[in-house]
């Protein structure tokens, strides 16, 4: 590992003020991804500001009937929190399908949003990768891309976002509260938090330099009864998804009043399926309706050489997740 300077921030102001607002400084949460990346020489920060002790460690109801998840609360604590389990079981299910118990114990909510792609080209420093080394090219486009994006990729980058939690948050229309460097705050809708690669794949999110995530807010949800998170993967645990689906249905009198739907591991960001959600509204739940929603969801998919299967697999997974969600009642 390269030498770096470590400081532990005791206050938010101290944290943001010590940020140099450039690539050389990183906030450190649980470190489950950043430390790995430093060992691999992918991330080369000169300064680490530990923020795990900052006072964003609670999970509390919001005035508007939602729930606020502190950025420094661990994934384990969040997934098992009574309020989350009761009102946002879809999020709980997504979070518990991620990584391992040990990693979830360490990982923070804020850090989960900022984890980086697991694209092998990104990790292997001898390979070209525009995300790690802008301008060096994308090795995966012409190389091995079985696990890569089918939506929203650019000729600069075909990587996917690896998080399960974020698929749940995208489906549930969460928002992200951040502290700006000048002390002010702003709120970012979840769908605007992560970026598509475009010409700047090195930028995963729309956070400005030095901005610190303080909490994630969930709106009031009607998806606590009919929900399912399906993660299709190559082994039962400790594997990133081939594709994953977060699905929630709000069913009133055998009619879909509202739905939430997002795909994971198919794009540079969690892939919210707004068109499919709109289609589902007002329909009677049935396999045929779910199949049509899945067809609509994948209409715009553009698979690469080796991941054509993800289109079919995503459709099947959507249908299956919706059926499971529907059957839950």
């Amino acid at each position: 590992m390269r030498p770096f300077k470590y400081t532990s921030a005791e206050t938010v102001i101290a944290a943001v003020e010590s940020h140099t607002q450039d690539q050389k400084t990183h906030y450190l949460g649980g470190g489950t991804n950043l430390i790995d990346l430093m060992k691999e020489d992918v991330e080369r920060p000169e300064n680490l500001i530990e923020v795990a002790d900052l006072p964003f460690k609670s999970i509390e109801p919001t005035a508007s009937g939602g729930l606020s998840l502190g950025a420094m609360v661990s994934n384990t604590e969040t997934a098992n929190h009574p309020e989350v389990r009761e009102n946002y079981p879809l999020l709980s299910m997504a979070m518990l399908s991620a990584a391992t118990e040990q990693i979830r114990n360490m990982a923070t909510n804020g850090g989960n949003l900022l984890q980086r792609t697991r694209c092998s080209y990104f990790y292997e420093t001898s390979m070209p990768c525009n995300k790690r080394d802008p301008g060096s090219g994308c090795g995966a486009i012409e190389g091995v891309n079985r696990l890569h994006a089918i939506f929203g990729w650019s000729d600069k980058c075909v990587a996917t976002h690896p998080s399960d939690m974020c698929v749940g948050l995208a489906a549930l229309d969460a928002t992200v509260n951040v502290q700006k460097i000048d002390g002010s705050t702003r709120t970012i809708p979840f769908n605007d938090f992560h970026r598509l690669p475009g010409d700047q794949p090195e930028k995963d999110t729309n956070l400005e330099p030095g901005e610190l995530i303080t909490s994630i807010e969930l709106p009031k949800s009607n998806f606590s009864k009919n929900y399912y998170y399906l993660k299709v993967r190559e082994r039962s645990s400790y594997a990133f998804a081939l594709v994953s689906v977060a699905a929630g249905l709000d069913i009133q009198n055998n009619t879909i009043n509202d739905s939430c739907l997002a795909l994971g591991s198919v794009a540079h960001k969690p892939w919210k399926l707004t068109k499919a959600e709109n289609y589902l509204a007002g329909k009677e739940p049935s396999k045929e309706v779910f199949e049509e929603a899945a067809r609509i969801a994948l209409e715009d998919a553009k698979p690469l050489d080796q991941n054509e299967y993800k289109v079919e697999l995503s459709q099947r997974a959507i249908v299956r997740a919706l059926l499971q969600a529907n059957d839950r009642a």
Binding site: V144, E234, S236, F240, R320
Partner: protein
């Protein structure tokens, strides 16, 4: 007087070294407290073909703590293979840094030596190599046409064998199978990283080396550095897994010993997990073309097994994929061939059950396909083609309970009531349920092995210390050796100390190839028997009931030393000595996602005397887990443009997790085979993985009607829109 000490062989006692291990007190190679120790970090190539044209070490050398940077430019000159393309042997030379030429991505090209591990690994990133890059040859399909017949294949096996006329056999068959199976590159990843601490004292080397074979490591080091064998000491008391990757003192060992010579201090080098993908061997990609024919009753009329594999440009290695096809079934017409191509990849080497692991997948899947074509129960097809004579070498089997294994497994699994020949006939919700089985066999090798014992008597109490250079690679060697001594000295295990893994002790063949337990336990037996015989002579005793402690009392000695050696008999050489087994699998396949879950597995083995049912059970569970990985999750992917393995961490390379393994029954059939060796012991390490993947693949077919012939069976392959077969 004979007493039942309850810790002799056959008792399921706990590991005698278990407590040391869970307390962290068992010392592994990199953990020995050696004074004045410095740390080396290996450097590896980042191109797959070409040569180094320049090296810039200046930045690295400036760093605090850095002692030396070694590359081909300033390396010790070592013996090399020259222009010869060697077949790997675990006692052969292991040269490194002798040329600027690059043969594969991830080849050792240097080392940074520093005062601390952190300093070495940081400075390692600052060494800059400039290359002249050639186009790497890494495309299996493209270079398949260049495949040639090597003179011999792994372990001296014959490249080609044949009898009868397979074309006639195929033409006369009532049903045939003509299919191609591909098993991908797979990696063994023992938990303990490969490591060495090397020290020179004058022209003598001491190496704390994670190794499966002490004697061969001594020979490799001695030959590589051209020093007498007596000048090399290898110490490896505990080994955290080997799986064939630690059979030889590989390049990292040479690098560590060389570095120690150059800097004049003890050097520790640990191979990183990423480097283990390229520097310690792996299982090669095997493309296996199977042609089987049978008459209406299921008697085989022809069996053809043709394998094409890849090796490196530096070594010629081909595992004997056709080994099982040569001896498991009775066929009047047989053809087994092996062909090899050279690619710019690291050298494939031995990995748990070389030959059988991939070969059994092809053979036992093809047998299932044949049974399906014949509309016959696959259990019956295998029983029908049993043979008590090894047709490939014209020798009788020393023992063969293949049919008994199948019958026992079928009964335990309730095959008769569960299995339905029609695929997709069993469904629960979204899950398709399927059943599959396979037969297995693995050679039970046995070779010369020695041991020494030191006996200490205090009154009526006898204590013994057993010493031999055998290794415990996690299998339980300490325990079964203590149990052997317990049995032959008639004292409880608690009174026995076992010392292993030191070249100062008598020579054994080490652990690997399933020869360890049989060989070294018989060596220990021979030493115990030698002690007893000598003491009897000393006391002129004719009483066969006398125990060793009785004899020592009669001889009025409190200390006694003895040595013994066991070796294969002529009868052993005149027989084919094998272990046999059968596997039964129940899988559930999610029809939507293509995810496969192993719900139940029954493994039956007939492998001679089971020295310790508890450790043997663990070893078979490990084998099944390996087979499960081979079937469903494990594959190493080659980057087509750069020639590296793009799966380069255990996050990319998926070994199974606990949750993947369902209910598992392991059964050993009693077997008394004194032709195999005096104790009747056969190895089980490789039998445990053999044919596991086939049983799972056959069950997936039974569940889904889809035959995935290219492993692993990942969800993407099962959801492909293709014809579903029906009976």
């Amino acid at each position: 007087m004979k007493t039942d000490i309850k810790t002799g062989t056959g008792n399921p006692i706990d590991r005698i070294d278990g407590k040391l291990k869970v307390m962290g007190k068992a010392k592994y190679a990199s953990e020995f407290p050696v004074e004045n120790l410095v740390f080396a970090q290996g450097l590896t190539s980042t191109i797959a073909a070409g040569r180094i044209t320049a090296v810039d070490t200046s930045e690295a050398e400036k760093q605090p703590g850095v002692i030396k940077v070694i590359t081909h430019k300033n390396a010790m000159k070592l013996k090399t293979f020259g222009d010869k393309l060697p077949q790997p042997r675990p006692d052969d030379i292991s040269p490194v840094l002798q040329t600027p030429e690059i043969h594969y991505y991830g080849e050792f090209i240097g080392a940074v030596i520093a005062e601390t591990f952190e300093q070495a690994s940081y400075a390692a990133r600052l060494v800059k190599f400039t290359y002249e890059e050639d186009n790497p040859k890494v495309d299996f399909k493209k270079h398949e046409k260049d495949a040639y017949a090597p003179e011999s294949i792994n372990g001296g096996s014959k490249t080609d064998t044949s009898w009868g006329n397979v074309d006639e056999g195929m033409a006369n068959a009532a049903a045939t199978v003509d299919v191609v199976y591909n098993t991908p590159i797979e990696h063994h990843h023992p938990m303990e990283l490969h490591a060495i601490i090397a020290t020179w004292d004058g022209d003598k080397v001491t190496a704390y080396l994670s190794s499966q074979m002490v004697e061969n490591s001594v020979k490799t080091i001695s030959k590589t550095f051209e020093i007498p064998k007596e000048n090399v000491r290898v110490i490896t008391p505990y080994v955290g897994g080997g799986f064939g990757s630690k059979l030889q003192a590989r390049e990292h060992a040479t690098l560590g010993i060389m570095a120690s010579k150059i800097v004049g201090r003890p050097v520790q080098i640990t191979v990183t997990r990423q480097q283990m993908f390229t520097t310690v061997g792996y299982r090669q990609h095997n493309k296996q073309h199977m042609r089987l024919g049978a008459d209406q009753e299921g008697n085989l009329t022809a069996l053809v097994h043709e394998t094409v594999s890849e090796t490196s440009v530096t070594e010629e290695f081909q595992e004997q994929c056709g080994a099982m096809s040569r001896m498991l079934y009775k066929t009047p017409n047989s053809l087994v061939t092996h062909r090899l191509m050279q690619l710019n990849l690291p050298s494939p080497r031995w990995m748990r059950a070389p030959g059988e692991a991939p070969g059994s997948f092809a053979l036992e899947s093809a047998m299932d396909e044949l049974a399906f074509a014949l509309k016959m129960d696959p259990v019956k097809l295998r029983i029908k083609n049993d043979t008590q004579h090894d047709l490939s070498v014209d020798k009788p089997f020393s023992s063969r309970q293949f049919v008994e294994c199948i019958k026992m497994g079928a009964e335990k699994f309730d095959w008769k009531n569960k299995w339905n020949p029609e695929p997709r006939s069993n469904k629960e919700g979204n899950w398709l349920i399927g059943y599959g089985m396979s037969g297995s066999s693995r050679k039970a090798p046995y070779s010369e092995s020695s041991a020494q014992i030191l006996l200490n008597r205090e009154g009526d109490t006898l204590k013994a210390t057993v010493e031999l250079d055998a290794t415990d690679i996690g299998t339980g060697s300490y325990t079964i050796i203590a149990q052997t001594a317990s049995e032959y000295l008639e004292i409880p295990v608690a009174q026995i100390t076992v010392n292993l893994g030191d070249s100062n002790f008598p020579v054994t063949p080490g652990s690997g190839g399933s020869w360890g337990a049989a060989s070294y336990c018989n060596g220990v037996r021979a030493a115990c028997e030698a002690a007893k015989k000598e003491l009897k002579q000393k006391t002129n005793s004719t009483n066969d009931e006398s125990s060793v402690v009785d004899l020592m009392k009669a001889a009025q000695v409190t200390e006694y030393k003895a040595k013994g050696t066991a070796k294969p008999s002529e009868e052993f050489e005149n027989h084919s000595v094998y272990s046999f087994g059968a596997n039964f699998a129940e899988v559930w396949v999610d029809e939507f996602s293509g995810m496969v879950r192993l719900k139940h597995f029954v493994n039956v083995g007939s492998a001679g005397k089971i020295l310790n049912p508890k450790t043997a059970y663990s070893q078979i569970i490990g084998g099944i887990t390996w087979g499960l990985g081979q079937a469903l999750t494990e594959h190493t992917t080659i980057e087509p443009n750069h020639g590296n393995f793009i799966t380069r961490t255990l996050a990319d390379y998926h070994v199974p997790v606990n949750l993947d393994l369902g209910k598992t029954d392991v059964i050993f059939l009693p077997e008394d085979d004194k032709i195999a060796n005096a104790m009747g012991v056969k190895g089980i390490g490789e039998l445990g993985i053999t044919s596991i993947a086939a049983a799972i693949g056959n069950a997936v077919f039974n569940a889904t009607g889809k035959r995935v012939r290219d492993l692993p069976i990942t969800p993407d392959k099962l959801i492909k829109k293709e014809a579903v077969q029906s009976a």
